[in-house]
Symmetry: C2
Subunit: 363 residues, 2 copies
């Protein structure tokens, strides 16, 4: 890829332009909002001049409802050889492009899984997509060269490509992104009229659960509208679970012991399923849950022994991811398992051994 | 305070014991789980020997349903002059203590707003409460010396004391902690049976919203049971909002334009209210939202100008919290506002001035 056009210089478009420019691609920028376009240019994301010949790839980074129309117009003008977009819904842009008389062969749908609470070109970063998943949604009509341009774009931006069909993509993001956004926004909304003293009594949990509720309403309204059916289905299943949970809480205050026991059991099941579901969330994008190795160490029965063990490991520059103590045995010298990153396990064992700790076997 | 007892050496109890020991208080530890008690001792949190005379303060750090009974028993045994607990519900321990025939005068309810995903003594830290809110719930029967011992405990642990009545506390935590926990767990539970490919397409948003769903089910079952009515009320109001949101999403796919417009408006309102509610969440415990100062800078109309501005500020060791660009004026030389911590504003202005940037007035 030697030349590209980025239409729409918000956070995503400008970040793509910055990444491509850094890799030596000549990038042409365009945005209906000239201030945003000029800000992107001032950041060094590319040039505001129109290209003189069709570019290799045009990236349409406008709101989802407008992608089909903008794509079709760019195709009519002969802006590029291949086209992609960056919207977080994929069924609708494909359909809109055809409805607008565009050419589906030259288009490969794209969705980089990156972003942030802040929007606009000034929040852009060339490394925004580094190590992030980037879904590409070729249809049966997409030609090979458009697909390969999409793959090249992902690679130049440092992303991890994943091929999916459009319907599957939209179901996935309804579950993992769009419905969670509303679930978070509805919780945050309940804080609006709460007493100040009540809101003050909040911790990291509330901050985490409501963080995405700070997202830009205009942008999210567009996204949710474009994927409304799939999101409604996730939320309906969620609402049914929620109703059962409220019934369980009410039962806990019921008159009969069997009723209360049933309530407690139902609540325990919700919490257990929550644990299970949470364990499926990837630790970081593109990777599965991190692999930790357990290093078992015998600790002497002395005050401060564990504290000294932790210092030894910490002084060796190794991060302890978790610690397990064996509750099943009841003996004066306890057994502790240090969970560390796979790559550090050998080093930790050597350091502990050198410092006189008794390694309790291998795991 | 010279002597203290900590009954229950889980994460919270052991962390309190570590903090007190570090401040020179002689701490006696006790836990029905002898392995946990011995682990706390091994960490240097105190001694497993029973005190020979009543201690100044006993901290009951057992699950909420057992606090009243354990408190009453310790009082009968004359363990301490004053008593507090660390449970995240407060109405029930007060009521249970009286039902068990205990002395409410010597008891001050307590709830340190700290914790973590990991539980047990091995996750304990002496600085767990540093700068964190710590609610104390004196009743009309609590005597002055118990209240003052509670305040001293908070101070020795580095916490920020807040006095509240028990009912108000339980309503507050239902809204800011207990209901959010279930809202998060129910979302995570929906991921349990999702396709692996779908779960893979997730980002930081899902990780944040589901983080607390990893909490220990046994502990959370106890907490939710002890505050079931207040939590049910929050969730019922939430469920009503959720139902309206689903209706709005369905309307977006409706036949009539007015129906679709009403759906879009209702959805926009949810997102707007979410923004408003989120803005009330304190940035970090004990403090209000952070105060940022806007430093306006004129940027020349040159590619890369903004990037150079950001490097200048970054090289000066100052963190840019946010950036605003003025979209209302359309002129060749743009105006940018850098939002920085109040304490850095003067330094940033001096650095920019020294590097030839035009400061656009004061704000």
């Amino acid at each position: 890829m030697r030349t590209a056009a980025v239409i729409g210089t918000g956070l995503i478009g400008t970040s793509i332009a910055l990444a491509l420019t850094r890799r030596g691609v000549a990038v042409h920028l365009d945005d209906a909002d000239t201030t945003a376009a000029r800000a992107a240019e001032a950041l060094g994301a590319g040039s505001l001049e129109a290209p003189r010949a069709p570019v290799d790839l045009a990236v349409i980074a406008v709101p989802p409802a407008r992608i089909g129309a903008v794509l079709a117009r760019c195709q009519r003008e002969g802006l590029a050889h291949s086209y992609t977009d960056a919207a977080s819904v994929k069924v609708r842009p494909h359909a809109d492009l055809r409805a607008a008389g565009g050419d589906p062969a030259a288009y490969i749908g794209g969705h980089p899984l990156a972003g942030g609470e802040r929007s606009g070109p000034l929040a852009a970063r060339a490394d925004l997509f580094e190590g992030r998943l980037w879904v590409l949604t070729p249809s049966s009509l997409t030609d090979r060269s458009a697909l390969n341009r999409g793959l090249e774009l992902v690679s130049l931006c440092g992303g991890v490509p994943v091929l999916m069909d459009t319907a599957s993509h939209d179901r996935a993001v309804a579950l993992t992104s769009h419905a969670p956004h509303l679930i978070s926004a509805l919780l945050a909304a309940r804080l609006r009229d709460a007493e100040g003293e009540h809101v003050r009594v909040s911790g990291q949990g509330l901050r985490d659960v409501t963080r995405i509720a700070a997202g830009e309403p205009g942008l999210w309204g567009d996204i949710l509208e474009a994927n409304a059916e799939e999101v409604a289905e996730v939320l309906e299943a969620y609402a049914a679970d929620l109703g059962r949970t409220i019934t369980a809480l009410r039962a806990l205050r019921g008159a009969g012991a069997p009723e209360r026991a049933a309530g407690a059991a139902a609540l325990a099941e919700v919490l257990r399923c929550g644990n299970e579901g949470r364990s499926r969330v990837p630790h970081k994008q593109g990777g599965g849950p991190a692999v930790h190795i357990a290093v078992p160490v015998a600790i002497p029965d002395q005050p401060g022994a564990l504290a000294r063990l932790f210092s030894t490991v910490s002084d060796a520059g190794v991060n302890i991811e978790d610690v397990r103590i064996d509750h099943s045995v009841d003996r004066p010298s306890g057994l502790v398992e240090l969970l560390v990153e796979q790559s550090s396990a050998g080093h930790v064992r050597a350091v502990l051994d050198a410092n006189g700790w008794a390694l309790a076997g291998t795991s």
